[in-house]
Symmetry: C2
């Protein structure tokens, strides 16, 4: 079965090499023989062992009836969206690793796939190679999924791990991540939480059945996390992680957010270190299941892409049922009103006033804290309420970090 | 689509209730409408809300052409094997949670399913509700699986957790497990490792492509683990877990074992506590992935069964490709020759003699150790060699526990 690959960057080149390397094994395991016929890229790769497969003309793929499955590993919205749409309309199944594309255009593309009786699969768009989309759809099909929470961005998890384990500052940890190739020169999408947000949108769309757009989701990165926050979390027996999570409230309402969160040690998510990812899925029958592994990297991500390609090849004549409805109005609840506990760090000369307002709070300690620093755990309340109460007090806010029970 | 359930114990009754409870959701997610038509059990259930579905006659199921999928949750080899065989021959797909059946008769039953163009699925037979079989087959299809290691028995993991965290003795921890319903009155199959062994045989069969019989696998339970072993492991920064693992050496040779193992803290498997299960899969593209969750329990296990039932319903007319070859001769290597490190605990008045034989070993310490107790870490060597060396020394062997790098 002939395959075309659009975009020969890290993941795309991994896909080409993995299909070539494990072709016999895939044939044995999945009864389908995969072969890459075209590779689309605007760059030249004269030294590639696959040099003769390269083209700069998308029509070489679109017009080739032998090509039944097209891989999109270009990234970005355009022209990925136009190319994928054209392929689906031409009766080709498409496999994508592009979380931006799926989080923004997933509903439209799934509809296009349905209308043209082909498949649009994107296991690699969330948590790299870790199997998560197919397990939710197939393996947990007997469950009502109640909640999903994940460490979905390896860059920020690497940075936070260095801050927790080696007491590095955020700036030093970011610099190290860049040096090690875990963070890009412009790390905005990672450290501001945008990347993790796109991924939880995809998971929420699948698990709860309606498209969720990243724009509708409260998103906070890790740039505000200080070494003192890490130390106070440690005093609670906890760590700080960038958590993207979504919870079903009713058929018409979900809670969803991407923001730092305090996670108690002993939880499976707390033990996820360095550049690793993990996704916790809470189902009404299964309870909590956690999927852990590498969330990025050439071959880890290619592993998920190629598995989808094999699935498309097997399902050429019979579409897999897989999709979700369009976005619902007022579906995403206001994050400021979510009821939860928070760790609050303030500067104040009047901790007594803070205690008077927040009640009998748990006070946190760290070594070498300035005398006017006060950190505590709030009762269950909303972020709006926390901010309103703090605004009435003689304090300078240091940070406010939610506490989760994952 | 009509379903029959054979065996209405913990799991079977969970299947009936889960299909009833989540029928609408399953219909929406998987486009298949499941309904239980018969429940086979030799017992009477006059107060069950499903009382009118019960039968004591297997032929009520076998002869009913409306029933396309049969669930086997009876346990045991007989008559489960005969009933499942008869159903497959009659053109019915079968879903089983029975690890004894699959580990002993998997190859035969998969062949029967193939010959009759139906499906035989058994996700629930390993690690309860945790998705593991389908992810290996489908999601990791692009990988050559190199190694699998799991905590596959909740009872023993509960006991070891109590020994590690609460410093309980084995006997007290076993009694607590029985009191809490995690261990049966006769706990032999759990504590002697037989249950975990059956499960790793199923995983090895799937991952490496040839049937592995439990009888061919070195199997050691946890009854020899003492509080002193736990303490010495702690001195290494590690914990003791019952690990079932399998590793591909070549197309014609695997290493496989079920035995206690020392796992360093910080590893994902080390953090798996209480009655939870986890499976680590090491693939050539993906690296390590870990699947974690409840390995037993009514609804967790039923979750996996019902997902398989839905998959059978969707694939009524088209068989899923899924299976393995028959057992190979000399396929399982001799465990006594596996090269690894060991923690050795002995009684001796001449630790110097031990050191002379084993070289510059790492010596371990614990509080309140008797003066003649000596514990150390061997170099990489085989269990046969360790035993041979010890036999030549003036020592009484306390325990020999392998050390893994998972």
């Amino acid at each position: 079965m002939y395959v075309a690959v659009m975009g020969c960057g890290i993941v795309g080149s991994g896909v080409v090499r993995l299909i070539s390397k494990n072709r016999e094994g895939i044939k044995k395991r999945r009864m389908t023989d995969l072969e890459v016929k075209h590779i689309l890229d605007i760059r030249d790769f004269p030294d590639s062992p696959f040099a003769e497969l390269f083209t700069k003309d998308f029509n070489d793929i679109l017009g080739d009836d032998d090509v039944k499955v097209v891989v999109e590993t270009m990234g970005g919205l355009h022209p990925a969206f136009e190319y994928v749409s054209a392929c689906l309309k031409a009766g080709k199944s498409v496999v994508s690793s592009n979380k931006l594309l799926v989080s923004q255009k997933g509903y439209e593309l799934l509809q296009l796939a349905k209308d043209n009786n082909v498949n649009f699969l994107f296991e690699a768009s969330v948590a790299g190679g870790i199997p998560i989309i197919r397990p939710i759809v197939q393996c947990l099909a007997a469950n009502e999924v109640e909640e999903i929470a994940g460490i979905l961005n390896g860059t920020t998890n690497f940075i936070l791990t260095k801050m927790i384990v080696e007491k590095m500052s955020f700036a030093d940890a970011l610099a190290l991540a860049q040096k090690n190739g875990y963070a890009e020169a412009d790390p905005t999408a990672d450290i501001e939480g945008l990347d993790a947000c796109r991924k939880i949108c995809i998971l929420a769309s699948i698990a709860f059945g309606s498209h969720v757009y990243p724009e509708s989701v409260y998103t906070e990165g890790i740039t505000s996390i200080s070494e003192s926050d890490v130390a106070y979390a440690n005093d609670m027996g906890a760590v700080i992680k960038l958590i993207a999570n979504a919870k079903k409230i009713s058929d018409d309402k979900i809670e969803i957010a991407t923001a730092p969160a305090i996670i108690f040690r002993g939880s499976q998510l707390a033990g996820v270190s360095d550049e690793y990812n993990a996704v916790l899925v809470r189902g009404d029958a299964i309870g909590d299941v956690v999927f852990y592994g590498k969330g990025a990297g050439r071959f880890a991500t290619a592993s998920a892409v190629v598995a989808d390609v094999a699935d498309c090849a097997i399902h050429l004549e019979r579409r897999k049922y897989f999709g979700w409805d369009e976005a619902k109005e007022n579906y995403v609840s206001d994050y400021g009103k979510h009821q939860q506990k928070f760790m609050v760090r303030v500067e104040t000369d009047d901790a007594g006033a803070v205690r008077k307002v927040f009640g009998d709070v748990r006070v946190l300690n760290r070594e070498n804290a300035p005398e006017n620093e006060f950190a505590f755990v709030t009762p269950v309340m909303s972020l709006d309420e926390v901010k309103r109460e703090l605004a009435s007090l003689p304090v300078t806010i240091g940070n406010i970090i939610r506490i989760t029970d994952y």
